[in-house]
């Protein structure tokens, strides 16, 4: 469960940490708590999994990873777990999820593959197919980024 104070901390922190010498002090002041209380609360929220990571969210497309592909896999139900572990072992894979299937859509494993070119992404997908033994897969490139934003919670 999340407390009222924690919700306020989320609202404040999702605006980004201020670029002043004592940023936590500034945020804490606005929340009516002490700097120490805020730092402890952040650590506690990280321990409990409310904060996944404390750091910077970076746009990797600006860092030379210009091609990204969503590669989807039709894994057999009895081997999906093993396949998921194999696919997520690739360093080029940033995200790997098992998802529900829906109607005609039968691909149940999703991987985000990053590379410098589309060819590089395809080559990685091929290697992933060999490693996992899954031959039925699709490489879906992003033709356009229509939206990319950070989620704002408890608005």
């Amino acid at each position: 469960m999340i407390s009222k104070t924690e919700m306020e901390i989320v609202r404040a922190l999702q605006e980004g940490l201020p670029l002043v010498s004592r940023p936590y002090s500034l945020v804490a002041e606005k929340l009516g708590i002490t700097e120490k209380e805020l730092l402890n609360a952040i650590r506690d929220m990280a321990d409990r999994g409310l904060i996944r990571r404390f750091g910077a969210a970076v746009r990797h497309q600006d860092l030379g990873f210009t091609a990204n592909a969503m590669v989807v896999w039709k894994a057999r139900e009895d081997t999906v777990e093993e396949a998921g572990l194999i696919l997520s072992g690739f360093s080029e894979v940033s995200h790997c999820y098992q998802r529900e299937i829906c109607g005609e859509w039968q691909y149940n494993l999703f991987t985000m593959v990053h590379g410098r070119t589309e060819e590089e992404c395809r080559a990685v997908a091929e290697a992933m197919s060999k490693a996992s033994g899954i031959e039925d897969y699709l490489v879906l490139f992003s033709m356009a980024e229509l939206k990319k934003s950070s989620m704002k919670y408890f608005l």
Partner: protein
């Protein structure tokens, strides 16, 4: 982007100091001044390399629920439909991909009921009923750090 920018980004993607004066601490690690670190972070935020400084929240940890949706949007309707879809604050990512299901977006909401309500509303407002919802069953991997290597072309 020079070596200091790269080193700074590499550190703060995973190890942002949770101490009273985080920028001074980063300055100590990198052999520069807190003022210089703040200046660099201002620049990297302004030019969009850093999307957000501070905490990356776990949507499920905060009690939110999410899904990945895909729609079949006729090419001539992509723009107006994207405008409808992107208007929801719970839609954080939206990409056009090379498949019959060409519009792929992530959707977050405080609960399943609200999630369903938004999906139905998007269908009604866009007039497109070909939409699938593929919620995650299991997360195998979420990696968000990209190591910047020396020698990569500066932009």
């Amino acid at each position: 982007m020079d070596k200091l920018d790269r080193d700074l980004l590499n550190i703060i993607q995973s190890h942002f100091p949770l101490t009273a004066e985080p920028y001074a601490e980063l300055a100590g690690m990198l052999g520069t001044s807190a003022g210089e670190i703040i200046k660099r972070l201002e620049k990297l935020t302004e030019n969009g390399t850093i999307r957000r400084l501070g905490s990356i929240f776990d949507s499920r940890g905060l009690g939110y629920t999410g899904t990945l949706c895909a729609m079949q949007v006729p090419p001539e309707m992509v723009e107006p439909v994207a405008e409808i879809v992107n208007g929801y604050s719970g839609v954080t990512h939206n990409y056009l991909r090379n498949h019959r299901y060409n519009m792929w977006f992530t959707l977050l909401a405080p609960d399943k009921k609200e999630l369903g309500r938004i999906m139905e509303e998007i269908k009604a407002r866009s007039g497109i009923s070909e939409m699938i919802s593929l919620p995650a069953v299991k997360t195998f991997k979420i990696k968000v750090n990209f190591h910047l290597m020396e020698g990569r072309d500066d932009q």
